[in-house]
Symmetry: C2
Subunit: 512 residues, 2 copies
């Protein structure tokens, strides 16, 4: 069958199950009840602190076929996933599903567990490095499931993913399980991606390298959700915890794109008092924030909130009074961690509050402007940030689809060519974000507006910005790069790309 954006999807995928095809960004064909999780009564005088991960695995009765979950606030510095999986593997347990909010190169040991059948399924919102390569090569027994950040919250809440045991990397925990990410040698800030795991898993185990006196305030994850606490020497490498991508681009082309994007924002009329804004942590996206900052200062504009993974650049804008509040699902650097610990106006949010389409209104719904990147985009404005032009997995939506669906103005900023390959194609390798949620593409050679946004096209006519059709932009780039060859893949489906509502927007096939 073909889904709403014309992609052929099987009705049933072995190892995944019955497919609900994507039916449009705002259709939500299946809204479920929330999952009713088991209560576990912990009375007075019960001790929650255990000696070792093995003791925790015993207490959680870990066994074949279970789903274990992890979150990625320690990013490429995370030790917890590997530590836990090493002990699970040592028990000879098989057929584990790893539901991790993201997987990074540091998680390379998973490849061996995949080969051995210890891990047979992976569910994540972003996968890069050796695990992504292994999945793309067809080594994983069942297709991986790629979700959005909000979609993961939805899936856990609805029971689409039932987590047997959630593992929380806890930079600070007390002996009763109150957790935050603010203090200690592995401080990482907000823990938004771990919230649904803790609320909906049958068992929750905190792994910490920093036991603090009870009660550990502010409490981001409450004692009422945590079964056990396991103290370890170290939960992560501080060098890897702080992302290396959060620097404004110095490339003149990137800066030009940022200036053009600022022009679009200005023309849209959305830069005004009370505005809200989100941008990614990529170099061009941060340059757009810098442009916005200059405009806001010059025109004395006070925004309402900025959201997302929060970087020091956004904290600077917040501190200068350009935004009154921050909604933070993960802190990208230590300046963000510090800010979050200092004021309640820098507010944490769970992944569900951030982007779940099936709660009573996510934060993305109140976004005016979001700036996003793209690996590929087609002439219907469908976007790929999941696979590279070789067809292999190298990322994932994360909050891309969530913010695009929510924001009043979604702008993709990108160079027209990437490593001599064209950005714009007739058919892109993978679609994770549907074109109906993308408003504008800004490249160094021109700006294309989604024809759905005639209002915006009108507004841009009054500027001297180089607006053209996306087909024209494609022609320009093809003159430079030539028409790219279609990627050849095998038939085997190695990953299923779920839209935020749980429908299937695309599948990823084995690379040749």
């Amino acid at each position: 069958m073909k889904n709403f954006i014309g992609i052929d999807i099987p009705e049933y995928i072995e190892g995944y199950g019955k497919v609900i095809p994507f039916q449009g960004a705002y259709e939500n064909p299946v809204i479920k009840k929330k999952n009713g999780v088991r209560e576990s009564a912990v009375g007075p005088n019960e001790n929650k602190v255990l000696e070792s991960i093995d003791e925790a695995l015993d207490k959680a009765n870990i066994k074949d076929g279970m789903t274990v979950s992890f979150h990625h606030h320690l990013r490429n510095g995370d030790y917890v996933l590997n530590m836990v999986m090493e002990r699970i593997a040592a028990r000879g347990i098989k057929d584990i599903t790893v539901a991790a909010s993201s997987i990074f190169p540091v998680h390379a040991p998973l490849v061996e567990y995949i080969k051995e059948g210890i891990v047979t399924q992976i569910v994540a919102s972003y996968i890069s490095g050796p695990v992504a390569k292994a999945i793309s090569e067809g080594l994983l027994n069942k297709p991986a499931i790629m979700q959005t950040h909000g979609g993961r919250g939805r899936a856990i809440e609805s029971g689409d993913i039932h987590i047997d045991v959630a593992f929380v990397a806890a930079p600070a925990a007390d002996n009763y399980g109150n957790i935050n990410g603010l203090y200690g040698k592995s401080a990482c800030g907000a823990l938004g991606y771990a919230i649904a795991d803790c609320q909906y898993a049958d068992k929750v185990i905190a792994i910490t390298d920093n036991i603090v006196p009870y009660p550990n305030c502010p409490i981001e994850i409450s004692q009422i959700y945590v079964d056990y606490i396991v103290p370890v020497e170290s939960i992560g490498d501080p060098e890897g915890i702080v992302s290396g991508t959060t620097k404004i681009t110095k490339d003149p082309v990137g800066l030009k794109i940022a200036k053009m994007a600022a022009g679009v924002m200005k023309a849209s009329g959305l830069i005004k008092n009370g505005m809200s804004f989100q941008t990614g942590a990529g170099g061009i996206s941060l340059a757009v924030a810098q442009e916005l900052k200059d405009i806001m200062i010059k025109e004395d504009i006070k925004g309402s909130f900025a959201s997302g993974g929060i970087t020091g650049y956004i904290v600077d804008m917040f501190r200068e009074g350009l935004f009154e509040y921050l909604f933070d699902v993960q802190c990208f650097d230590l300046k963000a961690v510090e800010s979050y610990s200092q004021t309640h106006k820098h507010q944490r949010m769970s992944a569900s509050m951030y982007g779940n389409p099936h709660n009573k209104g996510a934060v993305v719904n109140n976004l005016d402007i979001v700036i996003l990147g793209a690996t590929e985009i087609d002439t219907n404005f469908n976007v790929n940030v999941t696979t590279g032009s070789d067809g292999a997995i190298m990322g994932g939506s994360g909050g891309h689809s969530d913010t695009a669906a929510g924001a009043k103005l979604t702008i993709i900023v990108s160079n027209l060519m990437k490593a001599r390959l064209p950005l714009i194609k007739d058919k892109i390798t993978t679609v994770n974000t549907p074109g109906e949620t993308i408003d504008v593409l800004v490249t160094e050679r021109g700006i294309a507006v989604n024809p759905r946004r005639q209002d915006l096209i009108e507004k841009l006519k009054a500027t001297n910005l180089p607006v053209m059709s996306i087909e024209e932009l494609k022609s320009i780039s093809e003159k430079l790069t030539g028409k790219p060859k279609d990627i050849e893949t095998e038939d085997n489906i190695v990953a299923v790309v779920e839209y935020r509502d749980g429908t299937v927007i695309d599948v990823i096939r084995k690379t040749k």
Copy 2:
């Protein structure tokens, strides 16, 4: 059948259902899954702000037989319950269950709705005033259900109470439903009793007299739980919102009792660095806090946390560094509201986090000492704070049973006689808190220790405190008051008293 404390309970109660008898404070015979509530997808550009309560009732599809819930942070100043019930009554709707965390004299209009069959059941943790009288006289169609604060959280989470529509009195709300109790003319502080309602009701409607710009931070109740917001002129009377009971007693007898209680605390060895403490807002209880304060200052002791409904007296101890943290489920006065808004060390908690026995560990489990009152106590240390000596409802457990079960040392402070009636009886009118969770009774004429606590009896021998058996204390008081007559009641059960785990610890019968 007889339950664990020897009270005759029917196996089935008409209008309540099958009875699970109380089986001991830590038995938890029935631990359920959490209730899986309906998700409601709210997308971008949907408006949540409605014109009137009537519009909200239309949207929530209110109908016969539904359960509506309220919380009592506005106490005897609350306008919201009456405003909503007036509109429900005006529709000719029948057979409504009112699940209110507490009911006060201000809610007198409910009596008329009870008579008319509009309200046929009431579930609450505390009921005083005309509604209590009406229930005691048998006017309510089904037996009322009296719960503890933690038990109410448990019942809502487990689905024992399924709330169709929850109404939240919101001192500050934005147009997307982020709520706190900190700001505006009806500021009342922490909203701990409303949290389970918002998380587990099918529909959540905020009634507010203070719409603030989005986002309303700090967020105590999140937009993801709130369906609609209804602005009204006023949600409450500030005079009634701040409780009148939070004054230290000036009665010399009360002060003597407080001093003796302090002596017991000191002898117990629990007054030490890292200690935790809770006391009620009654005059003697607050005098005990004053005594504790003097000891802590004198002996340079730094406590960990104080919890409960927080009063200005406890805030003073917190500000002086005697407690490092406060866990707050409701603020009793404006000093508490102010403190809660100023620092994350004054931490909110939900009723479930406070006292639910079926989560992974409530705050009460970490309490060292709690000071509680009593209307009556029997020689097995079972306590009544629910009915008066005429057998009529005039209160309820609230957090009484929760804290008694959790704390290492539970002390009842009370005058030996109340309005010429004896405190200690062979058989008390109603049992809400089982004697196995009470350690010590302190009266002006002597101190009785529960024989289960031989360790404490040994420690008190080393002091010059007047320790005696509870039977001896009873004799002393009966010499003064005479032996009271048993209260005569009809057979009809007008209320079922649930222990925190949902078992039935007692029933209340119609007054003669």
